[in-house]
Structures are given as structure tokens and as C-alpha cells.
Symmetry: C2
Subunit: 477 residues, 2 copies
């Protein structure tokens, strides 16, 4: 059964591909609390491995903090907490006994981590402190859930750092941006980096940098954030150090995170009406070998396919041989295309005789007869080409949905169209105007670009007063 | 400050080493819900990597199932559930709203996994199905907690497999035993494999195989279990398949798991009064390089140490250079000995001149001047020797605590002594006799050995009736 087209009916396409490509199974007893299937799990593991290498290079350490948070912690930084209140899941009983104090399941870990930091940090020699944790997060949205995009339980990475000054913390913000951009580039994503407007800054933070990727339906998806926390949390959790000048000071902090939402961006931005197209570096299976068997040659071809797999594996690729005899080659092609495997190798009797193999690219469908001597080179160069082409295609998507509006009518007309889009415009910086965009157009102000310097080009798109900043508006997940 | 001796005061030694070697920090707001510190986290990651390789070789797939379990799931297999009831943490509220149905945090995942299996398995072609999950587990013990040994939140691996027959499931039990034994051997552990007595079989299982390791205080620690589940759960969760004979049948299942308890076994069995001794393959830092600097040569020695680290790293080792200038070499030696780093390299001006380096083994303290040309070989052979010697030392611990009793007086006298021990004896197989051992001696019947065939050698150690099986008794964590 063919898929919908991700551009014409993204929602239908997304729901179907998630299940058929074995990424997530939502047929669970509690909505928003899903099974991350082996293919989804392996992509997340590949992201973890990439990030752990970058974390090691940059002096981050991994640790794991409790998922249970005492109620009083969440009220200490009340500005921070208020945003999470409606989604917090509370443990009130153990067995048939009521707990004296109810306990929250972490909606984020600032409070428990900084409680520990206060015990660990004493002097300037303890700084910078850079810890990351990979964990499950609970945000029990009672209304809408959507696999990977809005789950009640999901995975993330949250890094939390401490520094002696505002400026060294700001430098850490820049390091996090560099790390994330290397990840997003490796995932062949297209994205923009925004500084969120004040009203949409993370509760308790000085400022928030956010990374937004386009989706084929013209909406934007936040795929990561970095916060400069100033010393607001340090004051609430009493995280202090003795500085070189013998004075006791509060630390300056940053935090940054990515989550399994990132998988949704990768699937959505690269996929097509045949299924997923996975960036080679992160694909659970990078090469699938399909034996083209004929009645009298079955054993020979299957055996040759397995030997080929051993060789390709020794070159460092993750390889699968699909030697199931109950399916036709054509059926197998569709199956592996659905799962987004970047390269398929077909091996039939003629290929075997000619010491060759048919190489098929998932993204373009291009076919190429490759001699065995040339296979290692061809695999490498085609994997690289797929990555480059996926990135170009993603950039084209971003370009194609980016639009311009100078009046509220223009903005409305774009946001009310079926294509929607990412709209560059101008803003007076008053929350009331952002609120009007939200209420009337169900869209948000993503902020000013942080990766590119831009000046306002006209008056506020809502009220017509002087434009204070060049901003981008989009409908987001 | 020196440590206690793990043999003379294990509890004090363990509490201190866990904190000082940066394995776990228990100074958290909720007891039994601790921070897994970077060194502990890295050991667990190394265990995961080892297991994931073995899982891939043997056709297991990793996935992740929800941590939220509906109440009615836990009552479906009531025999199974009753054992967990007192420790289950319940989510009853989200924000300030009460949930219609309270939700359990997984104390184990049979119920949610088999609910999904019932949807995934249709025919014999879907079998065997072998899924593993790495996750956090909640068992809210309201009484005693002890880091890594009994936590309210901990990590584990739980594999759950489905098979067409009792015998193919039994073969899977054997595969799991082979996988675990390869892991325990790589961790240089000593252990025995037991078939647990009927009264101590996992609720809902046909039989339970358990792996028990000795601790220096003469107690035993269960470091893993494998269960043959028969088709009890399949019936409760309706997991059926159409067999080749066109009949619909219930699947047969197995499950097996290891947890962060395993880290406790590794630390306790190998550690000494200088701190940890980590098995080389799993040590977060395998080689530490300490520059022995003199006033006029500081830069030169530190630079040479960093260059040496690059070379040693290129041989595949995890290396740290301790070039902190506020500490003396002697202080650093103690610090890294505490953390159990298997090999220390000392580099001073004379070594530099002689193109040599001092190699020091953590386990024996042996020192060896090694020429740079010979360093790669010496590192390899010393790492191997450390592993072999750790394993021998662990085996000696097991041998030294293994005792024999033929009367209840002998058994009592051993269990009441400060050394305690693992006691081989005989049992009539009546639960009442096991109960008496439990009540009067605070010890348990671990079962018959499963790795070695043994016949009863006398009458029941409790009642004096005919001995039906040769069993082992110990006090366990």
C-alpha cells in the first residue's frame, strides 16, 4: 500500500511511516507513552554516540541524576516551575501506603542537579563543571500527543554547566551551539538558529537560543535549545564558589538539550512517498544486500551474498542480508526503501559471474553496476553523495517555505494557506503584538536570527509602529 | 584518610569507596534515589557495550517500552504481581488533576512488553522474537536502601523472548547463560550458577536460574537471573501464533536480566584497602599518566606526558594525564588508586632521558621500568595479567568462603560467625526447612548448582530426613 506524500498530507504520511518503518508503535495502553521500536532506538543510539564523542572532546562528563524530585524543589524557583506545573506527574502512593510528601517525576532536571552541584562546588578550581545526562523525561500532556513530537515520556540529553562569570557561561553557550550544529549537519538537517523573544525565554533563563528545522508541511520544529541561566538558579539552589579573589560568589550557569524530537525532524525532512531516507551516518542499516535468486542457484547466490556482507561489514558498514525465501526481491526493495536504508546492493547470477554488484541509491533511485574491485570506493563516494544531496534537499525545503510579509494581511494570508511557511517580518517587540499573532494565526514569533546578523526592514507587522527587530514567524509543533 | 579493609568491615568500606571513587553520590533528597556519578556511569556504559555486541551476535534487538503500566495489567498475572505490590510507586495525579486510573511505574516490564508482543506475533515466522530493553526500574523499598545493591531507582537490562516450544525456550535459557557467563568472566568475577528452589522461583516462571557472586564479607550477591516462563504469561496476555501445523498455540517465553547491582559486585570483589581495582576492559580510565615534574623541567615533562597519552590512546586505551599542578605525585597516586585505574605510568626527567617510563600495576603495586619501544607490548601483557590475576583472586575469595555443614548446629555456627560464608549442605526440599533457615539464621537456600552436577551427600541439614538435593545456603543482599 503506497504512502501519502509528505508534502501534501504530512500528518497522514507521518503517522503511517512511524509505524511501517518500525520507528515507534503507539498501540500502547496509555497514549503518549509509546514503544520506541528497534529502528527508532538505533537512530537515537547513533545520535548518542555522536554526541558522546563531542562531549568527550569538550570535557563534558555523563552522569545520571534521580528521576524523583521533591515537591519543594520545584517551588524554589517558582518562575521556572510554573510553566511545568500542569504537566507534572506525581507519585503519591507506594504499594497501598500514601507518601508523606508527594514526589514529582522530572519534567527537566535543573532542580535536582543544582542541589547536587551546591554540594560539589566549593572553589574556582571546581569550575567549569560540565555534566550531561541522557534520561527519560515525563511531561504528561493531557490533551494532544503525537509520537516523537509530543510524548508523555521521551528521551533527551540535558547538559548543565557552571562557570565563574557571565562571560565564561556565554562562551559555553557558543560551544554548545557549535556542538549542536555539527550534529545537525551530520544529520543533513536544514535549520535556523534563533534568539527567542523575552516572553518565550526558558523560565529562569537570561536568554534562550533555539534551533528550528522546517517540516515539509511548512511548520517549524524546535530541535534543540541552549539557555544562559545567569545566576538565577545558583541563587535559588545556593551554588557558590570561592573565587581567586577570596570572595564567595554565585556561579553562572548554562543548560542545553536535544531530544527524540530530533528523530522526528530527520524522518520528516528527508522522507518521501516511498518511506524514510536516513542520513548514512545514523542509519541502523546502512547497506542491505538482496540476493536475486533463481531456482537452481539459490544456495550459491545466498552464500555469495553473505560473504559479500562480511566484506562490506569489514569496511565499517552496518549491513543486513535479506535472504528470506518467502518474499520476492521487489517486495524486499519496497520494505527496505520504507525503512530508509541508504544503499541497496542486488546480487544475481549474472553479477556473480561478472564479479560485479548492482548498487542502488535510496534517495534518487539511481542504479549503478559496480565491479567488486571498485565497490569499497563506490560505497564511500555514494554515501557521501547521499549525505550532501540530502543536506541540499533539506536546504531547498527551508528556502522554499521561507517567505516575507510586511503587513498583517500578508502574514495572515500565508499562515492561513495550506502551505503555511516561515515568514520573515518585523516586530515592535511588544508582547501584545506577538499575542495577536498567536491568537489570530496560531503561530509564534521564533525570534531574531542568531546565526546571521539582520536589521529590521520595516514597521511592526501587527501594529505598524517602528520595527525593533527582524523576526521570523511560523506555526510550530 | 585510609579506607577500612573490605574483609574486616565491608559495610564501612563499601559506603566510603562508593563516594570517594566517584561511583555513586547518595547525598540526594530522597533516599535510595541516587546520583550515578561519571565513574559508575562509565562502567555501566562499558557493560552495555559488551552486552550489545553479544546481543547483536545472537539476534537480540534493543527497543524501549513505556515506563507507565496500567493497574489492570499488573493484576492480570496475579501470581506475578503480588511479589511487587508493596514496592510499586503509583502516579495518581497530573498537575492538580486526579487521574481516572492510577498508573504504576514499572517494577519490571513483562506486562507491557507482552501486551505489545500479542499485537506483533501472528505466525511461526515471527518467532523467535528476542527483544531487550535498557531502562530505569522503580522498586520503592520503604525500609532499607543501599547504593547499587538496593535502590528505589536503578538501571537494568531485561531481555524477553518468545519461542514456539518449551524446548526452544529452554535452549534460549542456555544461550542467555552463555552470554552472561562471558560477561561475568570479562568482569573477572567469580560466581556460581544455581537453579533456585521452587519457593524462590520468579513469580509466574517455570524455573529460575540465578548467578551469585561472593562478597568479601562472606555474603552472596545475585548478579543476574534467567527465567523460563513456560506459557503462563502468554496465556495471561494472549500471545499466540499460528504454527506450521495450522494450529494456534501459545508461545513459550524466557526473560533474563542484569542490573547496576553488577557494578556493586565488581567493586566489592576486586577492591582492597587502597580503593577500587577495576577490570581493565571496563575501567573508565585504563591508563593514568602522572608527570613527575621538577622546577626547571615542568613544561617539558608535561608536554612529553601529553604526547605519550596521544600514543597510548592510539593503541586503543582510555588514557588520562593528571597534570594538575596543585597536587603532588604521591597525592595523585592515591587518588587514581582509589578510583581503580589498572595501570599508572610515571614519567620523570630521567625516564625522558632514557626513553623509558615507569609502569605500575594497581592490583599488585608492582613497578617496572619499560622502554618506550616495549611499552605497547608491556601494556597489553600487563592488562592481561591484571585480568587473569583478578579472576584468580576472585576465585580464591569464593573458595575461601565456601564451607560445608551436615548439621543445623554446624550451619548455625557458620552463619552466626562474623565471616559467614557459602555453605554446601543437603535439604529435604520442604519449604518449612528453608523457612527455618531463613527465620533462625537470616539466610536463604540459593538452590542446587546448575553449572555442576551434584548429588545429595547426606540428610536434610534442618530436619534430618532424607536429603533430596545438595544445596547452598548463604546470607544474601
Amino acid at each position: 500500500m503506497p504512502l501519502d506524500n509528505p508534502r501534501s498530507d504530512f500528518s497522514a504520511w507521518y503517522s503511517e511511516i512511524i509505524l511501517r518503518a518500525k520507528i515507534v508503535d503507539i498501540r500502547t495502553p496509555i497514549k503518549g507513552s509509546n514503544v520506541l521500536m528497534p529502528n527508532g532506538y538505533e537512530i537515537w543510539e547513533a545520535i548518542k554516540n555522536f554526541m558522546n564523542m563531542r562531549f568527550e572532546e569538550t570535557g563534558h562528563k555523563n552522569a545520571y541524576f534521580p528521576m524523583f524530585i521533591p515537591e519543594e524543589f520545584l517551588t524554589r524557583e517558582s518562575e521556572h516551575f510554573s510553566g511545568f506545573v500542569p504537566e507534572v506527574a506525581w507519585v503519591t502512593h507506594v504499594g497501598d501506603k500514601k507518601l508523606t510528601n508527594k514526589v514529582a517525576l522530572r519534567p527537566t532536571s535543573e532542580t535536582i542537579m543544582y542541589y547536587m552541584y551546591a554540594q560539589w562546588i566549593h572553589s574556582h578550581a571546581d569550575l567549569p563543571l560540565k555534566y550531561n545526562q541522557w534520561c527519560n523525561i515525563i511531561r504528561w500532556d493531557t490533551k494532544e500527543t503525537r509520537p516523537l513530537l509530543r510524548d508523555r515520556e521521551f528521551f533527551w540529553s540535558e547538559a548543565h554547566t557552571c562557570h565563574p562569570t557571565f562571560e565564561t557561561a556565554a562562551a559555553q553557550v557558543r560551544e554548545s551551539m557549535e556542538i549542536y550544529q555539527s550534529l545537525f549537519d551530520a544529520l543533513c538537517l536544514s535549520y535556523m538558529v534563533f534568539k527567542r523573544p523575552k516572553h518565550d525565554t526558558f523560565p529562569g533563563a537570561e536568554y534562550t537560543i533555539a534551533y528550528d528545522a522546517p517540516l515539509p508541511n511548512g511548520k517549524m520544529l524546535q530541535i534543540g535549545t541552549t539557555h544562559h541561566l545567569g545566576n538565577n538558579f545558583a541563587k535559588a539552589f545556593d551554588v557558590k564558589f570561592l573565587d581567586t579573589d577570596e570572595e564567595t560568589k554565585y556561579v553562572y550557569q548554562t543548560s542545553y538539550g536535544i531530544s527524540t524530537r530530533l528523530i522526528a525532524a530527520v524522518l520528516s525532512l528527508h522522507g518521501d512517498d516511498q518511506g524514510l531516507i536516513l542520513p548514512p551516518a545514523f542509519a541502523p542499516t546502512q547497506v542491505v544486500i538482496v540476493p536475486i535468486t533463481f531456482k537452481d542457484k539459490v544456495e550459491e547466490i545466498v552464500q555469495a551474498s553473505r560473504e559479500l556482507a562480511q566484506i562490506v561489514r569489514s569496511w565499517g558498514y552496518r549491513v543486513t542480508v535479506d535472504d528470506r525465501d518467502q518474499y520476492t526481491p521487489g517486495w524486499k526493495y519496497s520494505e527496505w526503501e520504507m525503512q530508509g536504508v541508504p544503499i541497496r546492493l542486488e546480487l544475481g547470477p549474472r553479477d556473480l559471474k561478472n564479479n560485479a554488484v548492482m548498487l542502488v541509491r535510496r534517495d534518487t533511485g539511481d542504479k549503478l553496476v559496480v565491479s567488486r574491485d571498485d565497490l569499497q570506493n563506490q560505497l564511500q563516494s555514494n554515501m557521501e553523495k547521499i549525505s550532501t544531496d540530502l543536506k541540499s534537499r533539506a536546504d531547498e525545503t527551508l528556502t522554499s517555505i521561507t517567505k516575507e510579509a510586511s503587513t498583517f494581511e500578508e502574514l495572515s494570508s500565508i499562515m492561513n494557506s495550506s502551505e503555511q511557511g516561515l515568514v520573515a517580518t518585523n516586530w515592535c517587540a511588544n508582547v501584545s503584538c506577538a499575542d495577536k499573532i498567536k491568537e489570530e494565526l496560531s503561530a509564534g514569533v521564533l525570534g531574531e536570527r542568531h546565526d546571521v546578523e539582520e536589521e529590521p526592514t520595516g514597521n511592526c507587522v501587527v501594529c505598524g509602529e517602528e520595527g525593533k527587530s527582524r523576526i521570523y514567524v511560523a506555526s510550530s509543533y
